[in-house]
């Protein structure tokens, strides 16, 4: 089966149907193992105590928030270049999931920030970038809802999403230039990870679980969107077909009305 075959919605739905149960099982299992390690195996931080465990949700959620946007941007290229409806569906399905992960990252960040910095919110570079990202996601969701014709909505959203990609990069740069309170990124370093493996392993497990969660949610959401469009197509056909049937009912009804 080539990628082109998958691009057919029917084959795609068949694939989703076959894969989804396994994905759900894998996601639940990975989340269970990840959370077990995060909450029961990983040691507490000598400075932060138990609150460090928020990191195991915060960091993967933040990664996923960006990954969703990447997914949306790639799908948008698919919409604009190949004009493929499945790419439209993928872009539309990504937006609410991305918004949810962005919200989760912001929320867990705020909850973590309270004991760390003594306040729920600081205008720190990354928090600010994510707030802007959330506004962008919500704007894109609103734009999807505002245009009825799904093909037109997809193209318009693809344009704004791709402009947003450039913007996300500029925002990240400009906001970091503007101010930063966060620690510098410490997972990826040329000389190996700076974090101890007792924390890194649960973090990796949670990241894996979140990726699986994203794939599951994205496939489910795409399936729902295909069905929604199918219903729309059926309704439009119902509206355009059957002029003969309706005219005959009118002639039948006329004497009854005259009476």
């Amino acid at each position: 089966m080539t990628l082109y075959d998958l691009a057919n919605p029917t084959r795609f739905l068949k694939l989703v149907k076959a894969v989804l149960p396994w994905l759900i099982v894998a996601t639940v299992a990975a989340l269970a193992v990840g959370l077990y390690f995060a909450f029961l195996v990983a040691p507490e931080d000598y400075q932060q105590g138990q609150t460090v465990r928020i990191m195991f949700v915060h960091v993967p959620a933040a990664q996923l928030a960006l990954m969703c946007y990447a997914m949306m941007a790639l799908s948008s290229i698919g919409s604009l270049v190949w004009k493929h409806p499945l790419a439209d569906v993928s872009a539309k399905a990504s937006a609410p999931i991305g918004a949810a992960f962005t919200f989760l990252a912001l929320f867990s960040g705020a909850v973590w920030g309270k004991p760390m910095w003594g306040t729920f919110w600081v205008w720190d570079a990354r928090l600010t970038s994510f707030l802007v990202l959330l506004i962008m996601y919500l704007g894109i969701i609103a734009l999807w809802k505002a245009i009825e014709d799904p093909i037109k909505a997809a193209k318009v959203n693809a344009i704004i999403t791709l402009v947003g990609v450039i913007n996300v990069i500029i925002i990240k740069f400009s906001v970091e230039w503007w101010n930063t309170l966060h620690q510098p990124p410490s997972i990826i370093r040329a000389d190996g990870p700076a974090i101890h493996s007792s924390i890194l392993i649960p973090l990796g497990l949670m990241a894996l679980a979140f990726v699986l969660l994203f794939v599951t949610l994205h496939l489910m959401s795409m399936r729902n969107e295909i069905m929604r469009r199918r219903i729309r197509a059926m309704r439009m056909r119902a509206a355009s077909v059957a002029p003969a049937a309706s005219s005959s009912t009118v002639t039948k009804a006329a004497p009854a009305g005259a009476r």
Binding site: L80, V132, I135, M136, L138, G139, I140, A142, L143, A146, I147, D149, I151, K152, K155, V156, I159, I160, L162, V163, G164, I166, N167, I170, I171, F173, S174, V175, W177, W178
Partner: protein
């Protein structure tokens, strides 16, 4: 080339004739700047510290205010169809419309800035810097706004959604604009670095804005 001149002249005239033209934008700018002291108190020291930011935000909001009609009016009366099918480069048409819109509504905001600066207690140096940054940065706001205007062109009440879509795009412009405006001295690196970034963003907007807005307008022809 004469068609470009004709388009510019027409757009400039229409922007001035419709809905109070330049005056209404400047009036809104004045209103925004006026409400800040009522919100934060008449503390001239505080106001002069945040004055550049107030002026920039006022200019941003004033720019957003008029943008929803940038392409919508043309769509409603059928002009957009002719602009799209004429064979002219739609990107160039968008760029000229933006230029005329900015000349009619953006430039008066810049010209009003020195006067409004007095209300927030800026010194001479700061007035120069704020006006200069707005002169360079406000076109970027219009260009970025044109993308939002193109995307929301088919919506009856697209103005609010336009603002929601455009404000995130305007954040970097605001950051560098205000940073340069509050740098204090024109010959310092504190001014030069953000100011050059601001110039870069405007040049960037000159490319991306017309491209993206024209693409959105072509979709709306469907």
């Amino acid at each position: 080339m004469s068609w470009m001149k004709s388009l510019f002249v027409r757009e400039y005239q229409l922007a001035n004739r419709v809905g109070g033209g330049a005056l209404i934008g400047v009036l809104f700018f004045l209103a925004v700047v006026t409400i800040f002291p009522f919100g934060v108190g008449p503390d001239m020291i505080l106001l002069s510290r945040i004055g550049a930011a107030i002026l920039w935000i006022g200019a941003l909001l004033s720019t957003l205010l008029g943008l929803d009609r940038l392409f919508q009016a043309d769509r409603e009366d059928g002009s957009l169809e002719l602009l799209v099918m004429s064979g002219r480069s739609l990107e160039l048409v968008v760029l000229i419309k933006c230029a005329a819109h900015w000349a009619a509504t953006g430039l008066p905001l810049v010209l009003a800035t020195p006067v409004l600066s007095l209300f927030v207690g800026l010194d001479f140096q700061s007035i120069v810097l704020v006006t200069l940054t707005l002169l360079v940065g406000a076109p970027a706001l219009t260009l970025v706004g044109a993308v939002g205007a193109g995307v929301t062109v088919s919506m009856r009440r697209g103005g609010v959604l336009l603002s929601i879509l455009v404000i995130p795009l305007a954040i970097p412009i605001l950051i560098f604009g205000v940073s340069a405006a509050t740098a204090g001295a024109i010959d310092s690196n504190n001014f030069l670095v953000p100011f050059l970034f601001l110039c870069a963003l405007t040049l960037f907007g000159l490319v991306v804005g017309p491209l993206a807005a024209a693409a959105a307008l072509r979709v709306s022809g469907d």
